[in-house]
Amino acid sequence: MRQFWTTTAVALAIALTTPAFAQKTITVGMSAPDIGQVDPHKATTTQDKPMTSWAFNGLVRFKPGSGDLGGLEPDLAEKWVKSPDGLVWTFTLRKGVKFHRGFGELTAEDVVFSLTRAGDPKSSSFSADYASFAKVEAVDPLTVRITLKAPVPSLLGLVANYHGGNIVSKKAVEQMGDDFKLKAIGTGPFMVDEYKPKESITFVANKDYFRGAPKIDKVVYRFIQADAARDLAFQSGEIDVMYGRQDQKWVERVKTMPNVIVDVIRPAELQLLHFNLTQKPLDDIKVRRAIATAIDRKQFTNFIGEVIAQPGRSVVPAGYLGFDDTTSVLGSGDSVKAKQMLAEAGYPNGVTIKMVQTSLPSMLAVAQVVQAQLKKAGVDVQLDVVDHQTFHANIRKDLSQMVYYSAARFPVADVFLSQFFHSRAIVGTPTATTNFSHCAVADAEIDAARIEQDGAKQKALWASAQKKIIENICAIPLHEQLLAWARKSSVDYGYKLESAMHLGPTINETTTMK
């Protein structure tokens, strides 16, 4: 019996003291049933992207915590030069950078392989971004030359640590084949360790990281889809960092918990209401103007909460290179005037608009506010509420007269304008992306801006494109929705988190935990 008590006491003592020597682990709770992949060239979803910033580098990088395209700094490349016409870019790589798990030193070959892979639709979701690349070649083991067919708005953005710009190990991709998806090899501060389907993926510190060994030993990325379950796990201390709800009430409630910090961050998703210009009665600009007048934009920020929502000021999100808010946007919420405008347009009895809407609660609520606002002006919005994938399919078949879409893109006006307002992108066409309105009024400006080398002239072209789109009422901006992440105050990212290009906090060598 005495022996029993002694062993128990020893066991207890070990159990109680172990945490002091334990590894430093940050557990991150993400809203998802599972991840798709760690492969940065295919990671498109909110749950996949944050991991890419832990495990990969680009030739240049966004400053941690910043989404400013103007503030890119050297990452795997030490320096670079561009030719006067902007078509040839030469990068000099940092020496002695090692890939994870003994996959060797980074060479120009890996960069050539990565950027070529990023431009191939078979291996990349972002191939369209690299369409203007003529060739990428290795001049010597530490020098890479990129030649373009035509100038692009931001070449550095395409080789930054974001989407296709992330550099992967050539040897690893070729050796692993399909396995690369979940065992991806990069050069970043953390490397993939163990993946448990539907449960978690663990990253361990890359002790050889070229900026120095991380102070955190392990990052566990846990998939906890149910909001309530994630909140409870955070409250009980089982997770240290968590993806938050885009909801002011949530932010306020979590902020009141002891030793918790909530970061409300960019990039914002711009919420646009697109009008289908090819369908009656929206083909009539008078009707569109009436509807836009009836929309009360201020209500959306009030409804969602000023902490997490900001007014939409243009058809491009604020802060993007080329963003311009000099054109005034309708949306005063004057339903009396709107009714009158409808009558003048020949609809004294109002109009009926069919709208396919996703059942995602946050988006549905916004659509219902739109519905209520328009009702006052005699516009009957009939919501066809369907699940999210059905919504995505049906709005691409022109089945919705108005489309409420929320998006964040690479922070340069060109991407947003090309995908949502260029005639090439009109849904239902062979080159379709997400032009739901069939807007085609600013093609010339968008195309010209893309190849313009003079920064000021380029900005003027983008401004003019935004003006035309706003004035033609292809879409009306409702508001911008920010992201919220919560963390224990013991977690210090090591930089000021204002914007997360990867939709979640970057955990790197500067991150610490008390």
Partner: protein, 314 residues
């Protein structure tokens, strides 16, 4: 006996085929494009077309159907459209968790429900009867996700007795494993207690009012023997029936329980597959579910013979 088993399994085949066909058609009727899910909304149309060809979605629907049926017949459920992992191995990885949970819930249901039902029937409208009614009403009317969150708030947040996130792998630490299993199993078990209590109570009420019970009592047989031997034995058949029948309900509710308690299992798998339009994974899961139900029905029928010698399984 062997022949009986063989015939029963043979009868199950058409059921499975019908389920397969139904599932195949249903998942495709719902709009949505797995290619778009995989590639994201910035993908080019060529990339999407390319992907659809690679995963075989460009083939005419009847060709996809034949290919799928052929595969299933040879015991292969194919690979997930989204992750490209073999479905069987994905399922095999999480199936033990779901089985562990449902079996634990079933055990809780029987251990809690049977005595409660018997006690309730012995004194109709007595104290135990009221308790039984309240417990079964609670179990039946509380959705699993509501009772789950309430339990977490009470036992994980307030008292810190159990973890919020159920531990999955590794399974080496039995204490930790039990601690993880306790709340979800209780949550799901509550539903089972409700059903079992109800059927036990009504069965016992009927049995105890039979002539042979009155005779036994008149003979002076002790009350305990009357209740358990003369009464309860006759209620076993409906209890077994209800357990077999509601095993399906239990599996359905285990989906919700697994989500709330963040337990690995078929539930998370099926929700993920639905959201991503992972056709092949959904089909595979439905096959597994249908198969489980068929097996449970078979076991139920066999159990009849065990609890009641009058039932012959030949």
């Amino acid at each position: 006996m062997i022949r009986y088993l063989a015939t029963r399994l043979l009868y199950a085949l058409p059921t499975l085929l019908a389920v397969l066909t139904l599932v195949f058609v249903l998942v495709r009727i719902v709009p949505g494009d797995p290619a778009l899910v995989i590639m994201g909304d910035q993908a080019t149309p060529e990339a999407l077309r390319d992907l659809r060809e690679r995963i075989g979605l460009h083939l005419p629907i009847w060709q996809q159907y034949l290919a799928f049926m052929g595969q299933v017949m040879s015991g292969d459920l194919g690979r997930s459209l989204i992750t490209n992992r073999p479905i069987l191995s994905d399922v095999a990885a999480v199936l033990p968790f779901t089985i562990e949970l449902t079996v634990a819930a079933l055990a809780i249901g029987i251990v809690g429900g049977v005595p409660l039902g018997v006690l309730a029937a012995r004194r109709r409208d007595g104290l135990w009867d009221w308790i039984a009614r309240i417990v079964s009403l609670t179990g039946l009317s509380f959705p699993a996700f509501v009772s789950g969150i309430l339990m977490l708030l009470a036992f994980a947040i307030h008292f810190h007795w159990f973890p919020v996130i159920s531990r999955g792998w590794p399974l080496t630490d039995p204490i930790e494993r039990l601690r993880s299993l306790a709340l979800p199993a209780l949550n799901l078990g509550l539903i089972m207690i409700a059903y079992v209590t109800r059927v036990t109570r009504s069965g016992m009420l009927k049995a105890l009012s039979e002539d042979y019970v009155r005779t036994a009592r008149a003979k002076g047989v002790p009350a305990r023997v009357v209740v358990w031997r003369h009464g309860f034995r006759n209620v076993l058949i409906p209890i077994v029936t209800v357990i077999g029948l509601y095993f399906g309900v239990l599996i359905g509710n285990s989906v919700l329980t697994e989500i709330v308690f963040n337990r690995p299992g078929l539930g998370k798998l099926i929700i993920g597959a639905l959201e991503k339009r992972d056709y092949t994974m959904l089909q595979g899961l439905m096959v597994i579910y249908a198969f489980i139900i068929v097996i449970v029905n078979l076991v139920t029928d066999l159990a009849y013979g065990l609890v009641d010698p009058r039932v012959k399984t030949t």
